[in-house]
Structures are given as structure tokens and as C-alpha cells.
């Protein structure tokens, strides 16, 4: 039984589409109800919170997984990043009200000590530390966009897809930190011991991409 871990939430549909393109059976996944472990034709699917997907892979519970690049970066887990699917695309950005955005146009001394709300403390810390900017972080688990409006923070680091939630909260993008998309990941053990099965899946994905963009990547 080959075990695949998939993230729940908004990216699950993207993940299922990727599997469908690879002819992996997804009938039961689509009609999953409240089930979190689903078996279908030699595959076992584990549905986990996005931030937990790397943990299932790291401990060898799942042979292969689809995980967002934001989650891989934030958890810092040591995984094998096999292929970027390009699906579930969005961006991690630094965003804030116009007044705060204008501060970032000037000397960095003007933004020292700002308060930044985020559910990505590791990514945010690395971003500001690399620029030598000392800020204060507020770790939230959701609804990050309302933090500046309510005076909890000056700006935010969060993921943005269309930007409509930012606009609705009178925020604009100050800086793009990184693009985000779903990636195929595995553990180091699975890479060695389940290589044939992984190669088949990733190889199929590479072939479908090659047909689409003329690229000749093999893995």
C-alpha cells in the first residue's frame, strides 16, 4: 500500500486535481465525508492539516505528500523536495496600510520596531533578519488581515492569492517574499526504499509537464 499525505483546506482540491492528472484513483477522496484516512486501489490517502503534512512525511508515515512551499519553509522540516506542481499558486507577502507601506520606501531606520502579525513566524523572522530590520512579531493562527485594522500590528506577513482580502481590509502589498505552490515531497527513507513507486508518479507528472511546456526534466 503506497501512502500519500494531502493537505486539507483550500489546497486539497488542487491536490486532487494533480492526482487525477496522474491517473491516481480519487473517487473516494472526492466523496470523503469526514474520513481522514481513505484507501483506494493500492493507495492510502492521509488528510492532514497543511502544517502537519511535513511531520507525517518526516516520520515515515507517508511515502509521498503534496505540501505547500510555504509550509515546507515555515516548518523547516528536512524533506526531499521532488517536484513543484505549480498548482495552488499564491504568494507570501509583506502587506500593510498605505501609511506603513510608505515607511518601507525610506531608510530602514523608519521601520525599526514595527509590529508584524503573521502565522509564519519563521519565514517573517528570516525575511526581516536578512535585511537587518528589527521588528516585533505577533503570532496569530488566522484572520491575519484584520490585525492592522484593529491596532494589533502595523503590518502583516501572510499568503495572498487574488489580493481581494487585502483590499477589503485596506491593505496593500509592500513586498513579495516568495511564490508559493504545491510540491511533491518525500522522506529520505522513502526516496530510497519506495523509489520505484515514487519515480512512477513523479515521472508521469514530469511527462505531462513536458508535453505541456516542452521541458525535458526527467524526475
Amino acid at each position: 500500500m503506497f501512502t500519500l499525505c494531502l493537505p486539507t483546506g483550500r489546497v486539497l482540491e488542487d491536490a486532487i486535481e494533480v492526482l487525477q492528472e496522474l491517473d491516481i484513483p480519487t473517487g473516494r477522496l472526492k466523496e470523503r465525508g469526514r474520513s481522514l484516512v481513505i484507501q483506494e486501489e493500492g493507495f492510502r490517502f492521509l488528510l492532514a492539516k497543511p502544517m502537519d503534512v511535513p511531520v507525517y512525511v518526516h516520520y515515515g508515515i507517508a511515502d509521498l505528500a503534496l505540501a505547500g512551499s510555504d509550509v515546507i519553509w515555515e516548518t523547516g522540516a528536512s524533506l526531499v523536495e521532488l517536484r513543484d506542481t505549480g498548482r495552488g499558486a499564491c504568494r507570501i507577502v509583506l502587506a500593510g496600510p498605505k501609511k506603513v507601506a510608505s515607511l518601507f520606501l525610506g531608510h530602514e531606520s523608519r521601520v525599526m520596531g514595527l509590529r508584524v502579525a503573521t502565522k509564519y513566524p519563521r519565514i517573517a523572522e528570516e525575511y526581516f533578519a536578512e535585511r537587518g530590520i528589527q521588528v516585533e512579531f505577533v503570532h496569530l493562527n488566522g484572520s491575519i488581515e484584520m490585525a492592522p485594522r484593529l491596532g494589533l500590528s502595523d503590518c502583516i506577513v501572510d499568503i495572498v492569492q487574488t489580493g481581494s482580502t487585502l483590499r477589503a481590509n485596506a491593505l496593500s502589498v509592500i513586498a513579495e517574499i516568495a511564490p508559493v505552490s504545491l510540491k511533491f515531497v518525500s522522506s529520505r527513507k522513502s526516496l530510497q526504499l519506495a523509489w520505484n513507486a515514487i519515480e512512477e508518479i513523479i515521472g508521469k507528472f514530469a511527462s505531462s509537464k513536458k508535453a505541456g511546456d516542452g521541458n525535458d526534466k526527467a524526475l
Binding site: H58, T75, W195
Partner: protein, 391 residues
């Protein structure tokens, strides 16, 4: 309440017994082949270690000061100590030197791991050339694992020299970017880098193939030769594969020509060992000629380190049968002599000096022993955990 520092743990009971059994098995196997036990200090001077570690690894060091105000870190690596010991205690004529060790190492954990302390067994063969050394170390390691009841460990072999040769015609900055991606096992980034840089078509084709050159040893070598021709590193690997195959260890081998180890001092064949359910390796090692050069020593060396707790968790080896031995009023001399007889026939006994037979049986049952020995009667009884009364 007694609290432990975060990231550390106390080992006791069955787990400690297993770890100890693994440690003993490794020591016995390796010392039978001339590996001398070696104990290094728990601290290493930062001034000696800093430039030997890559930046990624330096971030995982745990710094401390000695009472003499010397800046150190908790020992994060044993190989440096082994090489320093060789360079200062042995003349070139006395080499090769074989060392083995077991002890704690300290590195900041990579999430989701939380422990920063691990008990490692390792061995180093310093100052010898040729694939015989690689085969010796790998074979002894696999033998030890088999003795511990781990029958299907997989040794994944790679070659640091293969990667260096494969990238020899590539601009230095590009090669560094590609090597970093392989080291971090970010194959998607590796492919993206190949897209970003202008490379000759043939070179690009070869480099694109590297992450999939893995799996069955013979097949992988054949595929690699078709792409890269007959090279020194591929010959090294073939000789190792062939020799281990002749020793009946071929089934345990895989190749991974994209394998790069975290510590950059590896220069020749490298390997990692996998088994069981955990997603990470039990350990690994390889050849590190470059590190010897830094200590002014010419020659080759290789070594490996294994996580003893991870190995112990997979160990299925049955040791001596644990039993409570009731002395039943015998004199200490007679009781110890009779216990010796049981130990010689495969038991591990805990003496019970209690006067009452029933008390000794109850103690054995409470402590989860499967066997109880009546020393006056020189008889061993299997305790049935479901039964309340004694034998």
C-alpha cells in the same frame, strides 16, 4: 518535581537495555577487527572546529564556555576528534589506525525533531587507501546490524567524487548552486537552476539525469556509465558493490548518485543506512580524505556514525533470559555459584534474598519478569503473567 532540560531524555528500563546491547554488539564486532575504543572530550574548541564545518552545520552547534573561559561547543561530531588524535598520537609509520566509539553528540534539532542530544556509535579507519577499507567498514556494520536482528537494512551508496566530476565543466557559481540543491535534497530547485543557467545541451542532459540515478546497484551503474562513461568514482562504486555482493550483502545495497552528505569533508564513496518505519536514516558516513589534508596528513580515511537509539528501537536480538533467582536461605557463596550456572546457561539473574518463596515470586511478577528461579532446587519456572499463584 524533577524536570529535564527540553530536548534531552533519560533512558531506562527496556530501552536502555536495548541501547546497551547494541553498543556492546557494535564494540565486539569492530574490536574483533582491531578497532580501538576511543573517548573524546564532551566539548570541542570552536576555534578548531569552526572552519571544518559548513555554515548550515555551524548553526546547529550548541556553544558553551569552559571554566577557563574558552569558547567551545558541545561535541557535535566525533570525526574531527579522531583525526586530531591520529595526527598527534601516531607517526605515519603506525597507520592505519582503527577507532570505534560510543557516546552522546549534541546538535540543535531540525524540526519536527526536538532532541538535541543523541547517542552515537561510530567507527573510523584512518590512513588506508583502496576500496578494501570501504568494504571492511560497511561489511562489519551490516554484520553488526544482522546480529542485532535487523536483517533488512539498506545501505545507500553514493560518491562525492562522482558529483564533483559531473560538475567539473560547469561554472563554479552554477556548480555551487546545484550542489547546494542536491545537499538540501531540493530536486525541484536543482532542476530550476539547470533551467536558469546556460549550459551545453550534453552537459545539461547529464546533470538532469543525476537525481534519478538511484536504486538497484547494477542497473544504476549501467545507466550512469551510458551517460558519463567509465569514471574513477563509478569504478570505486562497482568494486565496493562487487565485494559486498561476494560477501552475501548485495541485497542490502542501493546506489544513489545524487547522495551528498551534510558535512562537506566527504570526498569519496559515501553511504547512508535506512531501515524500519522512521523517515530518516539510521546514520551514515563515507570517505573524507580532504579532512586529513587539513590536519597535514596524506592518505585516506573513512568512518560512519549511527544513532544508537534508532538502531535499538529496531533491534530484535534476544539477549539472556531475565529472571529473578530466589536464594531461599542458601549461603551467599552457594547462591552465587548456582546463579553462575544459570548465567552460563543463558539467564540474566537478579538475586532475591527474601526469606519467603512467595515474596520472591511476587517481586518477579511485579517487575514483569518472565522467569523465576528456585536456586535451592536448581529449577527455573516460566511465570505465566495471567496466573496469580506462583509456580
Amino acid at each position: 518535581m524533577s524536570r529535564l532540560p527540553k530536548g534531552t531524555r533519560t533512558l531506562g528500563g527496556v530501552e536502555a537495555e536495548r541501547v546497551e546491547r547494541c553498543r556492546r554488539t557494535f564494540f565486539e564486532t569492530f574490536s574483533a577487527y582491531g578497532y580501538i575504543p576511543f573517548y573524546a572530550p564532551g566539548l570541542q574548541l570552536l576555534e578548531s572546529a569552526w572552519d571544518k564545518f559548513p555554515p548550515r552545520f555551524r548553526k546547529r552547534l550548541i556553544p558553551v564556555y569552559t571554566p577557563s573561559s574558552e569558547a567551545c561547543c558541545l561535541r557535535a561530531d566525533m570525526t574531527l576528534a579522531a583525526v586530531a588524535y591520529l595526527s598527534t598520537h601516531y607517526s605515519p609509520q603506525e597507520r592505519p589506525l582503527r577507532l570505534c566509539y560510543a557516546g552522546p553528540l549534541y546538535r540543535a534539532p531540525i524540526p519536527p525533531e526536538t532532541d538535541f542530544e543523541r547517542i552515537q556509535f561510530g567507527a573510523e579507519l584512518l590512513g588506508w587507501e583502496g576500496e578494501g577499507a570501504d568494504v571492511e567498514v560497511t561489511a562489519l556494520l551490516l554484520r553488526s546490524l544482522r546480529q542485532l536482528g535487523i536483517h533488512s537494512p539498506v545501505v545507500v551508496l553514493g560518491h562525492a567524487g562522482f558529483l564533483r566530476e559531473a560538475m567539473s565543466g560547469v561554472e563554479r557559481a552554477v556548480a555551487a548552486s546545484l550542489m547546494r540543491a542536491l545537499l538540501e535534497r531540493r530536486y525541484d530547485a536543482y532542476f530550476s537552476s539547470l533551467d536558469d543557467f546556460h549550459l551545453q545541451k550534453a552537459v545539461k542532459k547529464r546533470l538532469l539525469s543525476i537525481p534519478r540515478l538511484r536504486g538497484n546497484a547494477a542497473k544504476t551503474l549501467e545507466e550512469a556509465r551510458a551517460l558519463f562513461g567509465e569514471t574513477g568514482p563509478l569504478r570505486d562504486l562497482e568494486l565496493i558493490v562487487q565485494a559486498l555482493g561476494e560477501l552475501g550483502l548485495g541485497e542490502n545495497l542501493r546506489l544513489d548518485l545524487a547522495l551528498a552528505r551534510e558535512l562537506e569533508y566527504y570526498s569519496g564513496p559515501v553511504f547512508e543506512i535506512f531501515s524500519g518505519n522512521a523517515g530518516v536514516s539510521l546514520g551514515g558516513g563515507g570517505r573524507y580524505d580532504g579532512l586529513l589534508e587539513q590536519y597535514g596528513i596524506v592518505g585516506q580515511a573513512l568512518g560512519f556514525g549511527l544513532d544508537l537509539r534508532a538502531v535499538a528501537s529496531l533491534s530484535r536480538e534476544e539477549g539472556a533470559i531475565p529472571a529473578v533467582a530466589w536464594c531461599g536461605g542458601l549461603s551467599p557463596r552457594v547462591a552465587l555459584e548456582r546463579a553462575d550456572d544459570f548465567i552460563a546457561s543463558g539467564y540474566r539473574v537478579e538475586l532475591s534474598w527474601q526469606e519467603r518463596r512467595e515474596g520472591a515470586i511476587r517481586l518477579a511478577q511485579t517487575r514483569g519478569y518472565g522467569w523465576w528461579i528456585d536456586l535451592p532446587a536448581c529449577t527455573a519456572y516460566e511465570l505465566d503473567p495471567g496466573r496469580k499463584e506462583g509456580p
